[in-house]
């Protein structure tokens, strides 16, 4: 009898305790306060020795004289610069394969092919990126829809910020097609789509007239393009050559699309048209192109952000993970500043403007009351190459700390001799199996 009582007690209490303990393992703090030497809000002036108050992951207050509640968890970011995390408005990295073989596949979604374990995300978080729109590549006409993710999480669901964002249109001709064929293909697709819709509406109207039930659904493969026509989805149109920009404008105007242009380096030559049409723009990671002056044979440096900035075009920067400087968003901004761009505008082009472009500026892009607390703690000025990201906070929670970044340590420190031998042994094993 007694043993039964004990067993019963243990079988209830122990699990409860365990669950409670597990629950406490990752506490989500309700109130957090950050005290920082400098806060770059992006929304307004920089704040020296300020405080950011966060409640339930949302910024409640920002300023110098903010009172910190007694039950807030205080993060002392002395000698640190706190600013909004970087946002990338367009990337095709982090996917297993960026392009589908077939040119017209608007119904595909990058949500299905994002690889959370890709080093791209790990590096992005390490470098202070808190949100990126992952879209298909440049080698399909209608590549599919994009997904906004944060570079933190073991599964795509855990990384998810916003699904079904943006539809990628590429004006680069697919393999073995000419530009004529490519454009015609697009026009035919749109014509077919419009015809489909008309016929659908006709059938619907007929059914209503005849008082018959109508349960035919729109073909889900056509839905994204219909949403594009209804301006529910934004088109991200990639222009491969300067001559593609007028085509992109033509498409945008013909179908009254909500569109942004993704430019290749050469497209700066169409700056006047871009400025005139006031279309939002995403720059290629390559910010400097060289051109040969035909007369003098001299090589001239063209700085793309400056050319566009002078014409009054607002843009967002992209990064390229395989290159030295360009992999860092702050380096792109620094390049523009080097050649004369205003510092604040440059910083906005890696925070607020891309957030606006991808429709997440209610949560990302600046440190303002009402936005989510997606901030980074820097060891110095963002445009100084010696500055590192010390911590990254996403939705009020610290998700990255440099001090605990084991992989980074390994990449920067000399390997211990035994480890070096082990690595070489592993390497040869790997090679043998290939």
């Amino acid at each position: 009898m007694k043993s039964k009582w004990y067993t019963a007690l243990i079988s209830i209490v122990v699990p409860v305790l365990v669950i409670a303990a597990l629950g406490h393992a990752a506490p989500v703090r309700k109130k957090v306060a950050i005290r920082a030497s400098k806060i770059i809000t992006i929304a307004g002036a920089d704040i020296q020795d300020g405080v950011i108050l966060i409640e339930d992951g949302v910024i409640k207050a920002v300023g110098r004289d903010v009172e910190i509640p007694w039950d807030a968890y205080v993060i002392e970011a002395t000698n640190k610069v706190v600013m909004p995390g970087f946002v990338l408005a367009h990337t095709s990295s982090g996917l297993d394969v960026a392009n589908e073989n077939v040119p017209e596949v608007p119904f595909l979604s990058t949500f299905d092919s994002i690889d959370p374990l890709s080093p791209y995300f790990e590096d992005a978080l390490r470098d202070g990126v808190v949100a990126m729109l992952v879209l298909p590549g440049n080698d399909t006409l209608l590549g599919g829809t994009g997904t906004v993710v944060r570079p933190h999480g073991r599964t795509v669901e855990a990384m998810l910020v916003k699904r079904y964002t943006g539809l990628k249109v590429s004006l680069r001709p697919t393999r073995n097609t000419s530009r004529m064929g490519h454009m015609q293909r697009f026009r035919r697709y749109m014509d077919d789509l419009k015809q489909y819709l008309e016929e659908y509406e006709q059938r619907k109207a007929d059914a209503q007239e005849e008082k018959k039930p109508f349960d035919e659904e729109i073909d889900p493969r056509k839905q994204p393009m219909i949403d594009l026509l209804n301006r529910k989805l934004k088109a991200f149109i990639y222009c491969d050559r300067a001559a593609d920009v007028p085509k992109a404008v033509e498409i945008q105007e013909a179908h009254k699309l909500n569109a942004a242009l993704v430019l290749s380096p050469e497209c700066y030559k169409a700056v006047d048209l871009i400025a005139k049409k006031k279309l939002p723009v995403i720059l290629d990671p390559q910010l400097i192109v060289w051109e040969t002056n035909e007369e003098t044979n001299a090589e001239e440096m063209k700085v793309i952000p400056m050319i566009l900035h002078k014409a009054g075009v607002r843009f967002a920067f992209q990064t390229d993970i395989s290159r030295y400087g360009r992999r860092y968003p702050w380096y792109q901004a620094a390049t523009a500043v080097r050649h004369g761009m205003d510092r604040t505008e440059a910083l906005k082009s890696i925070t607020l403007y891309p957030a606006q472009l991808i429709g997440v500026d209610d949560r990302f892009g600046s440190i303002e009351v009402g936005k989510e607390a997606n901030v980074i703690f820097l060891t110095g000025d963002p445009l100084d190459a010696q500055t590192w990201v010390d911590q990254v906070m996403i939705a009020g929670e610290i998700v990255y700390e440099k001090a605990k970044d084991v992989r980074l340590k390994k990449l920067l420190e000399k390997p211990k001799p035994e480890e070096a031998e082990k690595e070489s042994a592993e390497e040869s094993e790997q090679e043998k199996s290939e």
């Binding site: 090589e299 400087g325 380096y331 070489s424 390497e427």
Partner: protein
Amino acid sequence: MRGYVFLLTLLSLSLTATTALHGQEGIVAIKAGKVLTLSGAPVTNGVVLIENGKIADIGTGIAIPEGASVIDASKSVVMPGLVDASAVPAVRGDLNEQSSEITPSFRMSSAIDPQSKVLKRAVQTGLTTLYISPGRRNLIGGLGVVVKPAGKTAAEMIIKDDAALAIAMGSSSTVGNRTPRYQPPTSFYYRRPTTRMAVAWMLRKSFFDARQYAASHEKEDPDMEILSAALKGEIPIRVTVRRAIDIRTALRIADEYEFPLVMVGCVEGYKVAEEIAEKRAPVVLGPFYYHARDRGRYYEGREVNWNNAGILVKAGVKVALASNAESQSDDLLTVATVAVRHGMPRDEALKAITLTPAEILGVADRVGSLEKGKDADILILSGDPLVPTSRIERVLVNGKTVYQVD
């Protein structure tokens, strides 16, 4: 016969070279906010005096002679022009004579393209001295040359010919040496080496033959002449190696044949830093790849360390940072900036793109630092060179402004 030919070439080259190399006549004075001489402490609010293309004086309180053209850089930083110890080749045609694997008398100087776009761009990113090496497809590729991007003909550009002998170890020289499947071995590419063993063996054999040749020979052989000169230390030997195992092999062979070694590439140098330091072999580092999967395919290893430069320097190795002939790489200032970010000491990084490569190339008597008597190859920047927001405002080569921001 060869000596006679050499002398005649030298004579005709020098005749054409004398006019161009002297640079600007007259006196130029740069009023500098800060001068990073790289040969001592920085000078604040100083003057750099240039006469006939050479540095006449540097310091504070220097009187500027009358008639001197003055450059106002009082808000700027002045430093020596950058030296790229393994530059993108500004040449025409193939980088190797691929009809044979061992071509010691292949001279890159005969392939220089004075009108190359590479050179014109290089100057605008601050490069004033470049070493152009033969390619990596041949085991013994030939002789490299040190040039300056100023001059109409190759002769005017060259400041040191026969500057080093290029050897490529690891798997790069085996590339292409296999016959395509299902095809008869008819092309001259079907040859050794196809494995690392053969690479090491062929190298040893070449040095062995050179030693025999040096001891006694009947007929003069230009290839053997160069190899024996290299073994004697008269021509520096540069070996391109990436993996740690190849670095070790190179060090071993250098010990066996007792020659001083310079290593180029050394992506896995961090794994064997002490051994390299022990051998006192300088290293010319190329761009690293952030992730191994970005690197080439030919069995060149998968490990990376972002602080390769810092680790080598800490172990006592002399390190130069170069673009390593990668046309896709960023400019040298960015390379140095990123190296500092990842752990290379700042002073070492600045030296690694100026004085250290000049020393490795054997032209430190002329370039690499701002000192009296050296060539007036100067960069003027809007701020500290290792900060990405600093811009190159002006570049001088031999005292003449060759690039200026409008």
